[in-house]
């Protein structure tokens, strides 16, 4: 089990791929042409990246004052996470290279950290080639909008593979 925790630590300490990392800067503005559900007017976002909060990031709206979200890479919280981006969303993002898809889950931070959840059903996908982003709704009934990160990590570190 100790080794698995070590594996996870190594995983979160890994740098982002260079072509994505190059654009992880607060001066880079992402365009969400349709906003996101419930905040349709929020069309421009920036990402705050900080070593202190890594692996979490902060996605901040430039249009709606005060609007921002904590995010995390969903592949970190659920080892067997898998997404099939619907053709419509892929076309609207202009996504041609899967390697340029930056996938994030919005995190609902609860007072009790053990209850903190991530939205795995509707990830944010950003095409790092053209900086277009949107919230994509996956058609996988097994994925939850409130996936418990704590339980996920327990499973992660308890894997007997």
């Amino acid at each position: 089990m100790a080794n698995k925790v070590q594996d996870f630590k190594e995983l979160i300490s890994q740098p982002y791929p260079r072509k994505i990392a190059n654009k992880l800067d607060e001066s880079v503005v992402f365009n969400f042409s349709k906003g996101i559900p419930a905040f349709e007017d929020a069309k421009r976002f920036v990402l705050h990246v900080s070593d202190k909060i890594k692996p979490f990031l902060y996605l901040k709206s430039l249009d709606l004052q005060g609007l921002g979200f904590i995010c995390i890479d969903p592949f970190l919280v659920k080892k067997d996470y898998c997404i099939d981006i619907p053709a419509k969303d892929q076309a609207e993002l202009g996504l041609e290279d899967p390697g340029m898809a930056f996938v994030l889950s919005l995190v609902t931070v609860e007072k009790n950290p053990r209850e903190t959840t991530a939205n795995l059903l509707a990830p944010i996908i950003i095409n790092m080639d053209n900086l277009e982003g949107r919230q994509v709704i996956l058609s996988d009934d097994r994925l939850s909008v409130r996936y418990n990160i704590w339980k996920g990590l327990e499973k992660f570190s308890g894997q007997n593979t």
């Binding site: 089990m1 925790v5 559900p37 905040f39 705050h48 202190k52 904590i70 995190v107 931070v109 059903l121």
Partner: protein, 97 residues
């Protein structure tokens, strides 16, 4: 808004390439078969509502530099909790040797 009546096995056509067929009516449940091009998104309405609600839940209000530090503490706390709890179990497995 169009309102019409259909029986089992009857369909409606929307535009020229979307077909919605009533497969079965059972009490207050209706089974629908939907035939649409791949580039149309089709969801149960409550899924969409669930996502809207969760987005609203997830909002972290205006994070000023001072508040960001607070949040950093919170998330660092979360990370520490997650890892330290896991690590506490290490000695147990070690002692078995």
């Amino acid at each position: 808004m169009l309102i019409l009546t259909r029986k089992s096995d009857e369909s409606i056509i929307i535009g020229n390439n979307i077909k919605v067929k009533v497969l079965k009516v059972q009490g207050n449940q209706v089974h629908l078969g939907i035939d649409a091009p791949r580039d149309f998104s089709i969801f149960r309405e409550e899924i969409f509502e669930q996502i809207r609600a969760e987005n609203a839940n997830a909002v972290q209000n205006d994070i000023e530099p001072a508040k960001l530090a607070e949040l950093e503490n919170c998330l660092t706390g979360l990370k520490n909790l997650l890892f330290s709890e896991d690590e506490e179990q290490e000695p147990e497995t070690g002692k078995k040797d």
